[in-house]
Symmetry: C2
Subunit: 596 residues, 2 copies
């Protein structure tokens, strides 16, 4: 059943053959782990995905949560899934031993997330809990840790992230929720938060909100924001005055309630507990942002994966028409549509996006692990820079290109794709939120160009160039790959030229113009990085084909898909570079505004 | 209210200033018409759109048709809209006087369709009826005409097109429905049809199916297909054995029931009436295809239009964050998001797609009118060639780029765009079907490259080059437009080079390879054609700005959007050309198949 939404062979290839996840076990933090412990965890996740998640894809979508009399009811299957994931230890698998975790590398937990979300992305509850618990584990007092983490990672309590406010949206500096210090060291909270995923539901015994607000008298802007833990129920079981003011009905991911919450709205009696120091809340949040963003990238890749395998299966079975060179053989049987070049192209696009994204996400996850836990200080520092650079891309590409891929999955089904008889219409809806979650594509792109590329004097981009160079060198060893190695080198130079041009605008101090087309820069940069991931996969495939007769078809398909990416996707960088080097300013407000 | 989904000023500009719809009235067929008769009809449609359609957008989507006990119930608002449109004479407005029409140019009825579909594309019933009635008007006997057309164009009876069968999909040569001649000249029909839009519902007194089937003993393939009229109820009111076997629940356009119908399934007693001659059914259908395809293009442009105006309004009102150059002025008020370059870019993209598509659809519609009714035989013949060439593009670009535009509308709303609190999530769902309706994008693209470009020894493409040349010459008169005129010329040459290359592959007889990337060729060709439409609009705007002080902002916005299209969209042709000139074959089946 697993192959309905992911391919285990591909997971093994990416994890062990391309990204050598096993090598992580030589570092102290992961020393207890082996390939066997990784595989056991992956198998456990696969079983939950197969048995408790995938069978409910449609049902969870069809029976969305409702808010009645202040209570949110979710699909009954959610409770079983939470229990199973809690018992399996997956929710907090990457946490420290002392926080109840298994010190599993994020490289592995990213794959767990991929399998679970590909099975049923409408069951997105545990990733949220893990993110919230991780904030407590990283910055909270021992008391907060002891109080909240065990029940969260066991799946009994739900965690949330309460950032967005109605008047502020993505502009976190405009947050106005307040926290008033009380004598006992706790805080009285007032404020409203919107779009809080899993912000309330009946499958958890308590909801633990990680909440951004301002302590009275704090400085304006982002420097005056603090982080609080706010439980729905206090430890003595009494109500903590968190009100479900509304539930959003959504285009997709309908299984997860998105809540409008009021804090202290009923009785002005909502108590919060400060995490870490005052006014450092956004700082803490940003330190957790990389994992959250990788998580959204995983979700994009997962949904595109489920759509890809559904359309692939259909295209192999659905007969229609004849090959174009045999159009007039009217009595010949119809052929499966995968044999039509236009359908094959759409399937190759999906495969290239799904497997390219997943490879990038694992690369990024591995840098995460090394940045946290490498025993070699230099490797650790470099990994941190690479993580910072790759994260906005690993968040954006799987979501943006994943949307296109999912749309192509619908197209492969023709009219049937538009109906509820097949799952792809749902995936098409579900994935639409991913370029908005955790910083929109516009925000990720400004982060990439405005912060990550220039940081540390451009050191991260130099490290990336070096990493890509290694892959180019390895590819040059194989005649069949030479052409692509040289292409990737040229593309790197094209990107560098564009980067220099944009940085020269930054040098004038005109930040607005510097960043005005950051989203196009993101696309160009992403295509480069994913091409690198594909060449990397092709090098490994080539090595395997030479040394063994096993899995020949699998490896050949990898090389073929790499070629697809270079021949069909990489040419897009030409037009992007043209625009990015272009001096004409059309989107920036001037005194004489264009009326639309 | 109208500006919530379209802009009347823009309609007037395109219709009268750019495409000179009034000039059509010099031809005999349209001689009774004047700008006043056009405007009166447009006003009538606008009133219906404003009062009977737009107010029900969400409600029609939320209360989708259901099939119960063999009966299909649609939203009660459908009946009022059908009645109003029937009474207004809009359904058959372009029909001959003798068939009850007003001999209105299709250039005008396309605008009516745009306004109506932009108001509420889930009320897509009358376009279907008009298409079906038009087949009877064009090829049916006087008896069939008298029997069916009056009740159809008055909105009392619904018309449908019954082409697709479960086992054949887009492959019409594989249709297997049968028609057995009876002694009285009628036919006994057996077969099943799927995806029949408005195939049954309770807002019409009768449903008139235009049906493709094979008379027993007819030749294989497309040459053995005949066209029949099959009413749900016979003239004496008795049941004609057409069964609603199922209703599809869909991603979007939920107001229109998509039916699975059985003919003769209950009692083997379904009677059909032959339209025209036997075995010419597909021929007839194809002769009506241009209008149907323009109609789908209109639907794409309409949905994108409604999404654009919704997101534009939101972007003007929603405050968030500060300009990037003033990021640190924390106490400054937040600015409307339209002032952020990334949002402005997404709005300009939508505007460029919506207004560029509409201009192309009017250009194509005008060629339709001239091909039908020009008093000048040479103009008539040339118009026919232009119509044939432009139709697949006018069907595809507004739908494919319209999908992207609608997705950008969602993005402009951020998280709110994903919720049912705003209309864009619905438009995002609705528009997804348009690249599938009436021949998928893949099929349109094969039509463009495989049939239309080579037809008549390439005469159509030469005519197009000449038309574009006229616009280029006009644009060269204005300093500000010179650059874009030259760009368009260069783009035309790039396209020609690609075309020559592809035709040289066709010359080898390898049709499959020739057409394997037709979809990419379509995108490249479309970008050229829409750039032409934008330059054409800019030329008119420039002329108006010189001669008058009225509407300065409107015309300047047109020139600005033209620039957007040339600076942001046209560069995409570079990568497309690279791929289309590339020799590497990756999507065609070979003996050693790539396993996916």
């Amino acid at each position: 059943m697993a192959n309905h939404f992911f391919n285990k062979r591909n997971v093994d290839f990416l994890l062990y053959e391309v990204h050598d996840a096993e090598s992580l076990t030589k570092h102290t933090r992961f020393a207890d782990h082996t390939k066997e412990t990784f595989d056991m965890t992956i198998d456990a996740a696969t079983q939950i995905a197969d048995n408790l998640m995938f069978p409910f894809v449609k049902d969870v979508d069809k029976n969305q949560p409702e808010l009645k009399d202040g209570q949110v009811t979710v699909h009954p299957a959610i409770k079983d899934y939470l229990k199973a994931l809690g018992e399996s230890g997956i929710i907090g698998a990457d946490f420290d031993y002392e926080d109840g975790g298994a010190q599993m590398p994020v490289t592995i937990t990213s794959i767990l997330g991929y399998i679970l979300m590909a099975a049923n992305n409408g069951m997105m509850f545990t990733g949220l809990t893990a993110g919230a618990a991780r904030l407590i584990a990283s910055f909270g007092s021992q008391e907060l840790k002891d109080t909240y983490i065990p029940n969260m990672i066991s799946g009994k309590w739900q965690g949330t992230m309460c950032l967005t406010e109605p008047q502020a949206g993505s502009s976190l500096s405009d947050i106005t929720s307040t926290a008033e210090p009380l004598e006992d060291g706790t805080y009285k909270i007032r404020g409203q938060k919107v779009f809080i995923s899993a912000g309330d539901h009946d499958a958890a015994d308590n909801i633990i909100h990680l909440f951004l607000g301002r302590i009275k008298g704090a400085p304006l802007g982002t420097k005056g924001i603090s982080l609080f833990v706010i439980p729905k129920f206090r430890l003595d079981g009494t109500d903590n005055d968190v009100t479900s003011m509304g539930i959003y009905h959504k285009l997709g991911q309908k299984g997860v309630p998105a809540m409008h919450l009021g804090f202290g709205d009923k009785n002005d009696d909502c108590i919060g507990y400060l995490v870490g120091e005052p006014n450092k809340g956004l700082n803490y949040m940003f330190q957790m942002m990389n994992e959250a963003r990788i998580g959204v990238g995983i979700t994009g890749a997962s949904i595109a994966s489920a759509a890809y395998y559904a359309s692939l299966e259909y295209a192999k079975e659905r007969p229609q028409s004849r090959r174009l060179n045999q159009k007039h053989a009217l009595d010949a049987p119809q052929i499966p549509i995968i044999q039509h070049p236009d359908v094959k192209r759409m399937l190759l696009f999906q495969k290239a996006v799904v497997e390219g994204s997943l490879s990038l996400l694992l690369e990024t996850s591995k840098f995460f692990d090394l940045s946290e836990a490498s025993d070699d200080p230099e490797e650790k520092e470099n990994a941190h820079l690479m993580l910072e650079l790759l994260t906005p891309i690993a968040k954006t590409f799987p979501c943006e290109y994943g949307m296109k891929a999912t749309s192509d999955a619908v197209q492969c089904f023709g009219g049937y794709g538009f109906t509820e008889d097949f799952p792809v219409e749902q995936y098409y809806r579900d994935i639409r939120i991913t370029p908005i979650y955790e910083g929109t594509t516009g925000i990720q792109s400004q982060d990439l160009l405005g912060r990550k590329v220039p940081m540390a004097g451009g050191k991260a981009t130099m490290l990336l160039t070096k990493e890509v160079g290694k892959t180019v060198m390895a590819a040059l060893q194989f005649d069949e790959l030479k052409r692509y190695a040289l292409l990737l080198k040229d593309e790197g130079e094209r990107l560098q030229k564009v980067t220099m041009h944009l940085l020269s605008i930054a040098g004038t101090g005109d930040v607005e113009r510097f960043l005005s087309d950051a989203t196009l820069y993101m696309e160009m940069f992403s295509l480069n990085v994913v091409a690198w991931q594909w060449l990397k996969q092709a090098v490994v495939a080539k090595q395997k084909l030479i040394t063994s007769n096993d899995d020949t078809e699998f490896y050949e398909s990898k090389i073929h898909t790499m070629k697809y990416f270079f021949h069909y996707e990489i040419p897009k960088t030409q037009g992007l570079a043209t625009r990015l080097m272009d001096e004409e300013v059309l989107t920036i407000m001037t005194e004489k505004e264009i009326v639309m």
